[in-house]
Amino acid sequence: MGKTKNLKELMANNGTYVILIAMCVLITIVRPAFISVDNIMSVLNAATVYGCMALGMTYVIISGGIDLAAGAEVAFAGVLGASFGQTATAAAGKVFPGLPELPFIVPVFITLAAGFLIGAFNGFLISTFNTPPFIVTLGMTTVLRGATLLITGGQPVSNLTNGYVVLGQNLFGVVPSVVLVFLVLIVVDSVLLRRTVFGKSVYAIGTNERAAAVSGVKVPSRKIIIYAFSGLMCSVAGLIVAARANAIHPGAAVGYELIAIASCIIGGASPSGGTGSIRTTVVGALIISVLRNGLTLLKIESSWQTIAVGLVIVFACALDVRRNSSN
């Protein structure tokens, strides 16, 4: 009796960790290659894009909102930035033909600024007109996808400058630089959420918006920052997408917002707001990445992998509902 209770408690408090470790152990037993350094790096590498998106999404979800435009933000910011980061003699048509080769800082800045401003605009619409985040960001998805096609004429933006190449392919020891970027963001975002006034206000808004206003939280301006922050994280993801392939397609990151949302929820954030943390979101993102990697090692087709990931998301949400009702 006592033992089962302990196990229950362990699962209730650290369920996702247990699941993640159990998955790793199981896959290692069947395919020992899983635990190699190379493979672990590839698990992390695979998680960086939607992982970065999930970091920003964590803030949005804790505040009781949702950012369905995240995938479109990745593509738009990534494409817009990359347009300013093409080599002088890009073979396949440049977006801005006359543009000389600019220092890497320019496309980086443009990418980040684009994501930030689009996110801020989402937040502005949501807080000023009191429109549901679901609707605003769903609408923005279409707007941004259209704008992305408009910029590129439907063609991928390729032949990017050396900065992109370095970001996409450089290794620090065994760690790819994009993974390093992801790890740094995890630390920064976690501290920002746990140890700043802004972080606390995110929880306050998500738990009880009216009480937050009475308690001195400037709800409208905070919401703008929350969505801007999500946009910023998406633009980092966009930068990574472009750097990895040295090109970015206007249709990049389609559906990624769902994987990012799933990472948060699997980790334990509640879609109704007020709970969640960066740590648990990272665990959620890793569970998805490990699952995909393990299935690949087991030589299971990618269509089946997609189905498996979908089922895990549904299962995780069902668990969340149970967790909440048992309280």
Partner: protein
Amino acid sequence: MAEEKYLLEMTDITKEFPGVKALRGIQLKVKAGEVHGLLGENGAGKSTMMNCLMGIFPPTSGKIVFDGVERQHYGPRDALEFGVSMIQQELSPMQDRSIMANIWLGREPVNALGLVNWKKMYEDTKKVLQIIELDEDPRTLMKHLTVAKMQMVEIARAVSYNSKLIIMDEPSSAITEKETQQLFKIIRQLKAEGRSVIYISHKLDEIKEITDRVSVYRDGTYVSSANTADITQDQIIEMMVGRSVENLFPKVKVPIGDVVLEVKDLCHESLFRNISFTVRQGEIFGLSGLVGAGRTELMETIFGLRQRKSGTVRFKGKDFHPTCGKDSIDAGMAFITEDRRGNGIFPIQDIEFNSTIANIDAYVGPGRLLNLKKMREDCAEYIEKIAIKTPSQKQLIKNLSGGNQQKVLVARWLMTSPDIIIMDEPTRGIDVGA
């Protein structure tokens, strides 16, 4: 005297929540056809007891006998079937549906094809509305009704279930005095039909007026029951708080100082007009008025949560024009709101979060990071200072009783060291002599 027959007998009921013992062996006996008042400070266990009775959650132990049958392991639906219904304090009807859809929700009359028989539903609704003398078309949408009328619809629903016992949880807290009289008329009528009513209220004059007997509870225990006619209000209060009344609010002599707050000709677009008053330092200033008179709205306007149309507010000698709660907090104003659940507590956050949130700027340290240790210490200090009953400061506030939640809110505002504290209906459960 012969053994009296009871409609409801709850005996030795206990209920434990994680870390909190909400009920410790309480009892309640209600006769058929009586109006029974339930009294006790918030946190005394009244709501918990009623939730047990309604089958919303089961008691940890104890016996519930209703209508001569012991009832075990039942849900809210069963409770409605065997004749208990409850009018919640905070009504949550389906605003966009009609009166009749609300009344017959989940048990709509159907025709041979299994489709809803709207005509029968309409006629049936008319009948029950007639019983309680509510003159409204059954097809009226709920959102077009006043709170008092929504309550009537709830009562109609209870009547439609043919309930023998109707629980009313603070029914008068959101309606006007005139509407309360109307409510009393219906209660008397229900009583005449042999139904029983459990009436929960903090308003002792109402208890005196409408109830036949009362039961008093304190800290999850049963104190006693009495015939309403046999006891005075003072005796009731004494039973409720466990002390005699004289020393309940020891008046401390405080020198009255300069004017702190001066409100002049304050107007709102539609809610109130030309309000003027002044509050001096060290003064307790009472603001009264019926529900709907605009008190809450007035205070929200002073605090900057609503926009004023015209008029001036001077606070500590300076013109005061806050545009949000933060401005007022920074200026030294605190606001304990009326609607604790609506805009007071952060239910799924812990006590620490709930108590420090309004004062959070005070904990910003180097690098703009929060000093979490200081926050923990301050919270612990206030838990002790105003005697908040909780196993730990990591406890989620929703797990505390209403009174203790209110204390956490008091702690939240005391931490901001305010010059003036606005309390909107703080008696919705508080026993601090602060």
